[in-house]
């Protein structure tokens, strides 16, 4: 009798952890914590750095680019993105949410075009919603503020396009697949998930034996972020899109809270000298603004941003797998031939907000901006003044 009750209790606990989604605010806090941890370990959280390394290596593999300087797995940027993907995949396994999900050709096309725009936009802005906005803002870079504005503008245009598309384009769903043996695969997913995470920890351990301890740590931290994001279905796109589409502000609130916490952590690290002041302050605001707008539009097409596309690819969503590949390849090309370091430099120097009037006022200004955004969407949730549909 007590045995069954125990198993029952375990199942209940497992279900609440891995069947249902975690609340967004939990994700907001945990992501900020892990992002600050990554910064403390030496490499603030970013996604596009890794995607670009993937892109560089793929172009090199087909003979169209020279051998990249960054190691495909062990360079800091790459390990963060591998970790994000791995964490999301493992988390999806534990929740039985891994499924090869095909989409209609039109949607796959949006994944491709959107992915290319994400690559170009993030190339200009110096990163995606994470590296170009979240981490950049938290690190005190003016380009982060510019990208916030660009993302909102781009998302509005992207949403207008989707609303037009709903009226004028008929997208046919693909024929339903024959599910043979599907139930078995679903039952074994959690076990595979456990094995996968054990393997990940083992990999990090092995890395520390090869004197790659920081790399191993970053892998685990990034995997943690991937797991949290997948469990919460934490979506930056929603933060920019929902106020205009459904009027909801919950996603925006989650992102602003998370950004504020991350800001606090990274500013403390910089103020105490634990992190160099120029860390993540590399890009001019023009790139943030224009790149942000292009990225914002692209992410409405793909239905995923930088982090979002990667974790959804980890679940097996084919449209997003295409988007991630297009993203990686286009960012690599764009940064190598169009928005080169020389071109980026020509726009001027990046600006570190505390240079203006010190850390305290930089914190105040950033908080005011984020709280204003939060308040605007909360007001809109009540009045629906900005809701477009």
């Amino acid at each position: 009798m007590s045995d069954n009750a125990l198993v029952g209790k375990f199942k209940q606990g497992y279900d609440s952890l891995f069947e249902q989604n975690w609340p967004l605010w939990v994700g907001a806090v945990l992501i900020a914590f892990l992002a600050v941890l990554a910064a403390a370990v030496g490499r603030p959280w970013g996604v596009v750095g890794g995607l670009r390394v993937w892109g560089d290596w793929i172009w090199h593999a087909v003979g169209l680019a020279p051998r990249p300087m960054n190691h495909l797995f062990l360079s800091d940027g790459a390990i963060l993105t591998w970790g994000l993907l791995a964490g999301a995949f493992g988390s999806a396994l534990l929740s039985r949410q891994v499924a090869w999900t095909m989409a209609p050709a039109w949607e796959l096309g949006k994944g491709l075009v959107g992915g290319i725009l994400l690559g170009i936009g993030s190339g200009m802005a110096g990163g995606c919603n994470v590296g170009g906005f979240y981490t950049a803002l938290a690190a005190g870079s003016i380009s982060g503020f510019a990208m916030l504005i660009g993302l909102i503008a781009g998302a509005v245009v992207g949403l207008k396009y989707l609303l037009w598309e709903i009226e004028h384009v008929t997208i046919k769903s693909p024929a339903p697949k024959e599910k043979s043996g599907g139930a078995d695969w679903s039952k074994s997913q959690p076990w595979l998930g456990v094995l996968f995470f054990l393997g990940l920890i083992g990999a990090a351990y092995a890395l520390s034996f090869q004197a790659y301890t920081t790399t191993g740590l970053l892998l685990i931290i990034a995997a943690g972020i991937g797991l949290v994001i997948q469990r919460c279905r934490f979506c930056f796109v929603r933060a920019f899109r929902d106020p205009f589409m459904t009027g909801e502000s919950v996603a925006t609130k989650a992102v602003t809270v998370s950004t504020l916490l991350c800001l606090l952590g990274i500013m403390i690290l910089k103020w105490t000298g634990a992190l160099p002041e120029q860390s993540y302050v590399y890009h001019h605001w023009i790139g943030g603004l224009v790149g942000g707008a292009i990225f914002g539009f692209g992410m409405l097409l793909t239905g995923g941003c930088g982090s979002g596309s990667v974790w959804r690819a980890g679940e097996g969503q084919v449209k997003l797998i295409i988007a991630v590949l297009a993203f990686a390849l286009s960012n690599s090309l764009f940064r190598a031939h169009v928005w080169t370091p020389a071109v980026a430099k020509a726009w001027g120097d990046p600006f570190f907000l505390p240079q203006l009037a010190g850390y305290f006022w930089a914190l105040v200004i950033t908080c005011v901006v984020l709280i204003a955004w939060w308040a605007l969407t909360a007001w809109n949730e009540e009045t629906d003044k900005l809701t477009m549909y």
């Binding site: 989604n21 949410q97 499924a99 999900t101 095909m102 989409a103 209609p104 949607e107 989707l162 609303l163 709903i166 009226e167 997208i171 769903s173 693909p174 339903p176 697949k177 599910k179 599907g182 279905r233 979506c235 899109r241 589409m245 459904t246 009027g247 909801e248 239905g303 959804r312 679940e315 969503q317 449209k319 997003l320 549909y389």
Partner: protein, 78 residues
């Protein structure tokens, strides 16, 4: 575990966020009060998006049923 009699069926299988919700909103506009819409989808996000949409629009979210390879969601126009 009830099977609802749908007045309209929206096939949103293979569509990912935000298309299922956008299409739902569009179809609901033309439906009459009391009618039931069945949305067939594969996007995991719809499980959260649809109840949230219903609570804002005032429509009644009836529930969901796991089918072979997709999920059927039921929503009743207010």
């Amino acid at each position: 575990m009830a099977d609802y009699k749908a007045d309209e069926i929206l096939d949103a299988r293979g569509l990912s966020c935000p298309m299922p919700i956008l299409k739902t909103k569009k179809i609901m506009k033309d439906m009459k009060s009391g009618q039931i819409l069945e949305i067939q989808g594969t996007d995991p996000g719809t499980k959260n998006d649809l109840p949230a949409y219903a609570s804002r629009s005032g429509d009644e979210y009836l529930g969901m049923e796991q089918r072979d390879g997709y999920i059927s969601f039921y929503i009743k126009k207010k």
